[in-house]
């Protein structure tokens, strides 16, 4: 989540001698990241990243508070001019007459604090220039004074608010409840949403839904040019509910991105009071009801205990005690010390993210500045890498480089494939859809099933690249995923495979495999099947087998000092006389060392046989005798 605020706006709360660019630099190092800064006229726009556990600083005041803590650590002056959460209390609102009423029914599991105040005599008109300008720079469209004030409040104090037209609420009744599945609401933007059920909504006295709480108000209760009476509405909602609704309905609003992170109930009061002041000043609105405040479970003071030693141990340097305490105080923590011990009370707006000593360490270390900590390597220690990993990485890398040097291109495909691709390969690979591990929430049909074979993806690579290059030779080493894991230590059986695919010919692919087996000095060669699909040739092997049979060096053969006799012989190949048969028969001779292919023309094959003995020089006669046996 990012927010945009301006420098001048920040200066409403902050007194500083730091330039906007210094503020960007130092805050980014120690607090909220100011990703971009842009100068427009006499103001600067800060584009600030809000990390998910710090929704409390997603507002002008929050950034001012961070700045007042951080900048002095970089030798810049910075102090808070005012704290609106201390200044604005209910007792600041003067109500002359409680003319209007609102009956409410609330479920505190959905809404932990509910405040409302009714105004009359509202004048709907354009906002004053400074509000218009600030909102425009923050990229929020200026509409009218009342709508703008609600947005201005949100950005100033970090609490979204809503304004209803009081006269449009039937029977002056609001029932805050969970929606039923299929209920619909038409929101301010004119869009109608069918609710998934369990969403926080408000219905009025006639059973109409008037608010999709925390996300967007209903169109039927919205203020208009003719509005005379309005309800300023400031709430704390159940964050999980808000997130669920906004994700399921796809209605993403800025308000929702605040509420879904969990807001501080204590800040609701000041927001309502400051809102009342702005409405009075810029819309002439007069408060004409009692302040409705439903707040069942108040904030219980939370404390964290730690020691200076513990803090410094985790940071790795000694930060002076006074500095530690000052940092915490500036961030709104109250600190009591007892020798080495710190008892820290956590402000309400940090209740979700500060619970343990390590959370306190983070506050101190970041404000002090991570960049001021000198790095050192972790103390050296020898840890044995499990042999299976050592071999896996070493041998797969060897295979990859070897295939690359033969001219193949490595590809990495998604582990997930489409049903269509599985069906296309069902026959060749005997693939069954139900054997595949299925993804419940795929974002596309292309990635719905976990692969059981790498070949369909590689085949697709060949198809996709056809015409781009004359010769295509791809390989991939990746896992395939089986449903049952015999080891039971994880849900699936994940096995590495090597697959090769070419658009050349059968013997090209076979030659690649044979060269690879030789390179790996395999003790035993694997069984494999080269598949021809539309004149693409593909093969897949288990990496496990290759690893098991891998040898770093082949078995040494002593160099034979005796003569080698080479003899050629031609055969006519047929179904009954294959090369494999000739080879098998030939090697029955104990003197045969090697066979070489001399030529192949049609089905006539000429082979060269190498004969030698380890004990003596063979005569040609002896060799010929052997050859005749073949």
């Amino acid at each position: 989540m990012n927010i945009k605020i301006t420098h001048q706006w920040l200066l409403d709360f902050l007194e500083t001698d730091a330039t906007p660019y210094e503020i960007q630099k130092y805050l980014s190092l120690s607090g909220p990241s100011i990703e971009r800064i842009e100068k427009i006229d006499n103001d600067y726009i800060y584009d600030i990243e809000i990390i998910s556990n710090r929704i409390d600083y997603a507002c002008v005041f929050g950034i001012a508070q961070e700045a007042s803590t951080i900048l002095p650590m970089y030798r810049k002056k910075a102090t808070l001019k005012l704290n609106p959460f201390e200044k604005y209390q209910f007792n600041k609102i003067k109500i002359n007459e409680e003319k209007y009423q609102l009956k409410i029914k609330i479920n505190d599991k959905l809404c932990s604090r509910f405040t409302a105040l009714i105004f009359d005599n509202i004048e709907i008109k354009p906002s004053p220039e400074f509000i218009k300008k600030r909102l425009t720079l923050a990229e929020i469209k200026s509409i009218n004074n009342v709508v703008d004030i609600s947005n201005y409040l949100m950005l100033t104090l970090g609490q979204p608010v809503h304004v209803f037209d009081y006269d449009k609420i039937k029977n002056q009744l609001m029932i805050l409840r969970e929606s039923k599945k299929g209920e619909t609401i038409t929101t301010l933007d004119g869009k109608t949403t069918v609710l998934p059920g369990g969403d926080i909504v408000i219905e009025d006295g006639e059973g109409r839904l008037i608010d999709l709480c925390g996300i967007m108000g209903g169109l039927n209760s919205a203020i208009s040019e003719n509005t005379n009476k309005a309800i300023l509405f400031v709430q704390s909602y159940n964050k999980e509910k808000i997130r669920r609704t906004t994700m399921l309905t796809g209605v993403r609003t800025v308000a929702a991105s605040y509420f879904e992170k969990g807001l501080d109930e204590e800040r609701v009061e000041s927001t309502l009071v400051y809102g009342a002041e702005l409405l009075k000043t810029f819309a002439n609105a007069q408060p004409k009801s009692k302040i409705i405040d439903f707040y069942k479970t108040h904030y219980q003071k939370k404390t964290v205990e730690t020691t200076f030693k513990k803090i410094n141990q985790l940071i790795g340097i000694d930060i002076p005690k006074e500095k530690t305490i000052r940092i915490l105080n500036n961030l709104g923590f109250q600190v009591k010390t007892n020798n080495n011990k710190l008892i820290i009370s956590v402000p309400s707006y940090r209740k979700y993210d500060i619970s343990i000593s390590e959370d306190i360490v983070e506050e101190i270390a970041r404000v002090y500045g991570y960049n001021k900590l000198a790095g050192r390597l972790s103390p050296p220690v020898y840890i044995k890498q499990p042999e299976e990993y050592e071999k896996l990485y070493q041998i797969t890398l060897k295979i990859k480089y070897f295939l690359k040097h033969l001219g193949l291109n490595e590809v990495i495909n998604y582990s997930m494939i489409s049903q269509k691709l599985i069906t296309e390969w069902a026959t060749e690979l005997n693939l069954k859809l139900e054997d595949h591990i299925k993804i419940k929430n795929p974002i596309s049909k292309e990635i719905e099933y976990m692969r059981l074979s790498l070949l369909p993806s590689l085949y697709k690579n060949l198809v996709d690249n056809t015409g781009k290059r004359e010769i295509l030779k791809f390989f991939e080493i990746a896992k395939v995923y089986f449903k049952n894991n015999p080891k039971k230590n994880s849900p699936a059986d994940e096995k590495y495979r090597l697959a090769i695919a070419t658009n050349t010919d059968f013997f090209d692919l076979k030659g690649i495999l044979e060269a690879l087996f030789k390179e790996l000095n395999l003790k035993q060669t694997p069984q494999y099947k080269i598949i021809n699909k539309n004149n693409f040739y593909l093969v897949e092997l288990d990496i496990d087998f290759l690893i098991k049979n891998y040898q770093n060096l082949p078995k040494y053969q002593p160099i034979n000092p005796y003569a080698v006799i080479k003899l050629d012989k031609t055969f006519e190949l047929s179904k009954n006389l294959t090369y494999q048969k000739i080879e098998k028969r030939a090697f029955q001779s104990k003197l045969l060392k090697k066979i070489e292919l001399v030529s192949l023309y049609k089905n006539k094959i000429t082979l060269r046989f190498y004969f030698s003995s380890l004990n003596k020089n063979l005569t040609e006669e002896e060799a010929k005798k052997e050859l005749d046996q073949i």
Partner: protein
């Protein structure tokens, strides 16, 4: 006496550039009426005692001239007959390629190996317990919903919960703590999955996890280790900064940025905003000190041990290295030959 003749000849030979000139020179010296024969004719006019010496000298001169002319002829013929263009390309050998990530991962692993980190591997299809619970992300945490994580259609395990495609390599943290007692120095690089698919996201990507658990481990060790990596992996001109961040499984947490290699950390190219980075910085990794809940869940005594962890995206690391500027990262996984063959 005849040395001048030889010198004279050698000077003339030097000026010879082609066979015709050579034949002319040869005739001048060795033809019937050539210089040598004229000298021989002079012998008879000499006194007897000089005749012998002069004869030897002339013969010597004749022999030398003949040899030199022959040699010259050979050289001239050679350069004439076959012109060899040495600027022609050499014999062509097949040039395959590895996926650029393979090189990146190899480089990352070798950097960490030098400082004693071992590479391990953990499941890509795992239970929620390892992906979330053990990482201090209880039920209801936003990362656990199906907008952030792929869920698998396999029966739920009574103890470990639903089955997911691991959204991060951190799922290996608890598994490594179960495998061995501290000290731990682990890196885990693996495929990871999240339901996003656009120019900057692919539903499958890689992550690279570092984990260090030992006595007295503190923030400075994390900074030092990452600094070592960045200085080895990127060039020396790239700088890093650390920013506060929030992760459930580390406390304190931070984000590590590297200065942008496209705009040299300036945030601008030709006065236009750099499209690659944010004000000159690129997010490189998330990191932090391991949350005590994570250590406890892994059976590590938090009073004795502490540790750090980080998670990088190797794709990002690769792209951040100079000269690898990918506008659309989907090209990494669509098998495009014109992309792959370049590496």
């Amino acid at each position: 006496m005849l040395t001048n003749y030889l010198k004279d000849f050698e000077n003339k030979l030097k000026k010879v550039n082609n066979l015709n000139q050579l034949i002319t020179l040869k005739n001048e010296y060795l033809a019937k009426n050539g210089l040598i024969n004229q000298l021989i004719k002079k012998i008879k006019d000499l006194p007897i005692e000089k005749k012998k010496i002069f004869g030897i000298e002339i013969n010597q001169l004749k022999k030398t001239v003949g040899e030199k002319i022959n040699q010259k002829e050979i050289t001239l013929n050679k350069s004439n007959e076959s012109f060899i263009d040495l600027t022609l390309p050499g014999k062509s050998y097949p040039k395959g390629s590895l996926h650029p990530l393979t090189y990146t991962i190899e480089e990352i692993v070798s950097i960490f190996q030098k400082i004693g980190f071992i590479r391990v591997s953990y499941p890509e299809i795992d239970w929620e317990y390892f992906a979330f619970e053990s990482l201090n992300m209880p039920k209801g945490h936003p990362a656990r919903d199906d907008f952030e994580t792929f869920f698998i259609d396999l029966p739920e395990n009574k103890i470990y919960g639903k089955v997911v495609l691991t959204p991060h390599t951190s799922s290996g943290q608890n598994r490594e703590m179960r495998r061995i007692k501290p000290p731990i120095r682990m890196i885990n690089i693996s495929k990871t999955y999240r339901p996003n698919w656009d120019t900057t996201h692919t539903p499958m990507f890689h992550q690279f996890e570092g984990l260090c658990i030992d006595k007295n481990i503190n923030i400075t060790h994390l900074i030092g280790t990452i600094d070592f990596f960045v200085k080895n992996f990127f060039d020396k001109n790239r700088t890093i900064r650390l920013r506060p961040a929030h992760f459930q499984f580390t406390e304190p947490s931070f984000e590590i940025d590297v200065s942008c290699g496209i705009c040299q950390g300036k945030g601008k190219i030709n006065n236009k905003k750099c499209r690659t980075c944010k004000s000159g910085w690129l997010e490189l990794a998330g990191a932090g000190m391991i949350h005590p809940n994570v250590l406890k869940t892994g059976g590590v005594d938090v009073n004795t041990y502490s540790g750090w962890a980080f998670g990088f995206g190797p794709e990002r690391c690769m792209m951040m290295k100079e000269n690898l500027n990918l506008d659309d990262i989907r090209i990494l996984y669509n098998g495009e030959i014109r992309f792959l063959e370049q590496f």
